[in-house]
């Protein structure tokens, strides 16, 4: 697929994948958005920056994935008194919440300049701001002190009401009944049937983007790993990939392979955990027992191989923190064989269990058409026929040597998301076996020079949930000027609102678990 802009040619951008960049006028911005929609580009992320100190402008950026490259487009906003940009939510529905977040953090508003009579008005409700800081304060602006604290003045949130005979609302959260992250779900139901679900998120907003700006380039990978703890390897790798691209750091081959090994371990640990929880949510506690046992075995192998159960500080700028010993290498080889056998036997039990399949099949369906329309990505997308996986489409090192097999399903229900998880575990096991068999010798860390100021780079990694992105702008003397982190949960949370429609309330935990989206990753 060839994508280019006539008026403003795309320039190469530092990244671990093929990536290009262009700065566009407002008209070009709108045209480019339509052109990208026409070539079925996957919309990835939208974020703003305050560049008034540098060029007197605010800016808005959007990132897209094409079949052979990633594209980042920027529009500079000169009107700093009332900064606006053309909304892209009509073309890319997933952008709607990101536009609200950009406004909450920077006061840059999205506008539709040619509103149609049947078009919805722009959603003015706060997304990340729940009244924890004053409306007139935009914390990500460069002249706002991020350390300043404000008393909470919580504001009522106008959920969209559903009216009709017998309709009532069920309000759930932000504190949920289990060990789950906080968020609010507002169900409008008739009897047990869900007519509408509206999510309200942002509860775990911790000011990650502002926090990045107070860290140095050499320590920010620790914060990146904690954007969403279950995707720690992916986010810290994405950060390091961006930093290494901008500093032209040579990462040793051994470190690259071990990063991939850690990433696949993270994928398998999460998939195992989800498969157990999905069995449990469908009333099959046996599944939880056995999959949580296998997950624990994997975490204990992590201690041998990577010196930690969860790899929050494993990927570091220039390489990795701990080398893999030969003893751990043979232990892993044996463990992969056991895991493969055990998962295959449990899969047969899941497949043949009538009660379980009865709950899985047809529940929470996201059809391929709906998935394409909403821009669903990652694991949930692949269960609805969206054939995208960075490891396959944009293989960065060492995935360029691994020929990862794409796993997809078309039915888009809970059963499909279960099948994708099973298949991806087997594919990850194959990758892990190859990685440890062909593990290069050599050092595990390269020297990372201090990046020059005002350089821009993007790191893109396929986490277990989908593609995560770090967009890094360097400051002077090893500082970070701006760092935007994107979790694929942004795209997929809105799809959950559709998946639950016409299902019954008691199936929500099952459907929600089959998505297993990150609150912390979305809230930032």
């Amino acid at each position: 697929m060839n994508f280019d802009l006539v008026e403003s040619p795309l320039q190469p951008l530092h990244s671990n994948v093929a990536c290009r960049f262009a700065s566009l006028s407002v008209v070009q911005w709108q045209r480019a958005m339509e052109a990208l929609r026409a070539v079925d580009a996957a919309f990835l992320s939208l974020w703003g920056s305050d560049d008034r100190d540098r060029d007197g402008c605010f800016s808005i950026q959007a990132a897209f994935l094409l079949s052979d490259e990633a594209v980042v487009l920027q529009h500079k906003i000169a009107d700093v008194a009332a900064p606006t940009y053309p909304s892209i939510a009509q073309l890319y529905p997933a952008a709607a919440r990101m536009e609200r977040a950009v406004y909450d953090l920077l006061g840059i508003a999205s506008v539709t300049d040619d509103p149609q009579p049947d078009q919805h008005e722009q959603d003015q409700r706060g997304w990340l701001r729940h009244g924890g800081w004053p409306e007139a304060v935009y914390p990500l602006r460069r002249d706002v002190d991020g350390a300043q604290e404000y008393p909470v003045d919580s504001e009522p949130y106008a959920f969209v009401p559903v009216e009709g005979n017998g309709v009532h609302e069920i309000a759930v959260g932000p504190v949920h009944a289990g060990t789950i992250e906080p968020g609010h779900f507002r169900f409008s139901v008739v009897g047990e049937r869900v007519l509408r679900l509206e999510e309200r998120l942002g509860y775990t907003h911790k000011g990650v983007a502002k926090r990045f700006e107070s860290l140095s380039q050499s320590e920010a990978h620790r914060l990146a790993a904690r954007i969403s703890g279950d995707s720690a390897v992916a986010f810290s790798w994405a950060y390091c990939a961006a930093l290494e691209a901008v500093t032209a750091t040579a990462v040793p081959a051994r470190a690259t392979s071990l990063r991939a090994l850690a990433l696949e371990h993270e994928r398998m640990a999460n998939h195992l955990s989800d498969l157990g929880a999905l069995g449990n949510d469908a009333g099959f506690a046996f599944g939880l027992t056995h999959f949580s046992r296998l997950k624990e075995d994997l975490l204990r192998a992590n201690v041998e191989a990577f010196a930690a159960r969860y790899l929050l500080d494993y990927v570091v700028p220039g390489g990795i923190a701990v080398d893999l010993s030969d003893a751990a290498r043979s232990l892993l080889a044996a463990q992969y064989l056991t895991l493969e056998r055990e998962v295959a036997s449990l899969r047969a039990i899941y497949d043949e269990h009538g009660g379980l399949q009865d709950r899985f099949r047809d529940s929470g369906r996201v059809t391929p058409d709906l998935a394409a329309q909403l821009g669903v990505i990652g694991l949930v997308g692949r269960a609805s026929g969206v054939e995208r996986d960075l490891r396959v489409d944009h293989p960065w090192s060492p995935y360029d040597m691994l020929s990862t097999q794409l796993v997809t399903e078309n039915s888009g229900d809970v059963a499909a998301r279960v099948e994708v998880r099973f298949d991806e575990i087997f594919e990850s096991l194959r990758l892990c076996q190859t990685l440890i068999e062909e593990l290069p010798d050599g050092p595990i860390r390269g020297a990372v020079p201090v990046a020059e100021a005002n350089r821009f780079a993007v790191g893109l990694i396929e986490a277990w949930r989908g593609p995560v992105m770090i967009a890094l702008e360097t400051g002077a003397d090893g500082a970070i000027r701006r760092c935007h982190a994107h979790d694929p949960s942004w795209q997929n949370w809105p799809a959950l609102e559709y998946a639950i429609i016409d299902n019954i309330v008691p199936d929500f935990p099952l459907i929600n678990k089959s998505f297993n989206l990150s609150y912390s990753g979305q809230d930032g």
Partner: protein, 166 residues
């Protein structure tokens, strides 16, 4: 069904007995201590006040067959009104401050609060900011903290034991 039974028999019992000490408690030691101090089972309520979700992964691990917390009568309950002990994770985000206070108020007296993980103990990498209040103790009274990022299940068990034996 035969496959399920066969799998159960071949797997056997995995719950681990370990050496007993306050520093390295086992579930059995914990249960004994609970029985001595409370005379009944302990009900925990977990609240995520803004965590990155790392600590939640290790809390969930407590219920796997190796640690088998619930099997010993130490259980996670669905409502703060049923809880003896509040296990709180995360730095407290400003958006969760009110919910955390209300959850704390809903736990009947006497109650214990354990702040779990480096963020809960001291604010962690997030610290204090426009969006984060840092440590749990900045918002509600905390009886005990468990360090770690995230703390391993054994450390969580040790922390709970220390909190109840105070």
């Amino acid at each position: 069904m035969l496959k399920i039974l066969s799998r159960m028999i071949h797997t056997g019992l995995l719950t681990e007995p370990q050496a007993t000490s306050v520093e390295n408690p086992t579930v059995d030691a914990l249960q004994h201590e609970l029985w001595r101090t409370l005379g009944r089972a302990l009900c925990l309520r977990h609240v995520d006040a803004g965590s990155c979700n790392g600590c939640e992964l290790e809390i969930n691990a407590l219920n796997n067959p190796y640690y088998n917390l619930e099997g010993k009568g130490i259980k996670f309950v669905a409502s703060p009104r049923h809880a003896d002990l509040l296990l709180v994770t995360g730095p407290v985000s400003v958006n969760m401050e009110e919910a955390l206070r209300r959850t704390y108020d809903a736990v009947p007296e006497p109650k214990l609060v354990v702040a779990l993980g480096d963020c809960g103990a001291c604010g962690g990498v997030f610290g204090r900011s426009y969006a984060s209040r840092g440590a749990i103790a900045n918002v509600i009274p905390v009886d005990h903290t468990i360090a770690g990022c995230p703390p391993a299940p054994a450390a969580i068990l040790a922390g709970i034991l220390q909190a109840i034996s105070r």
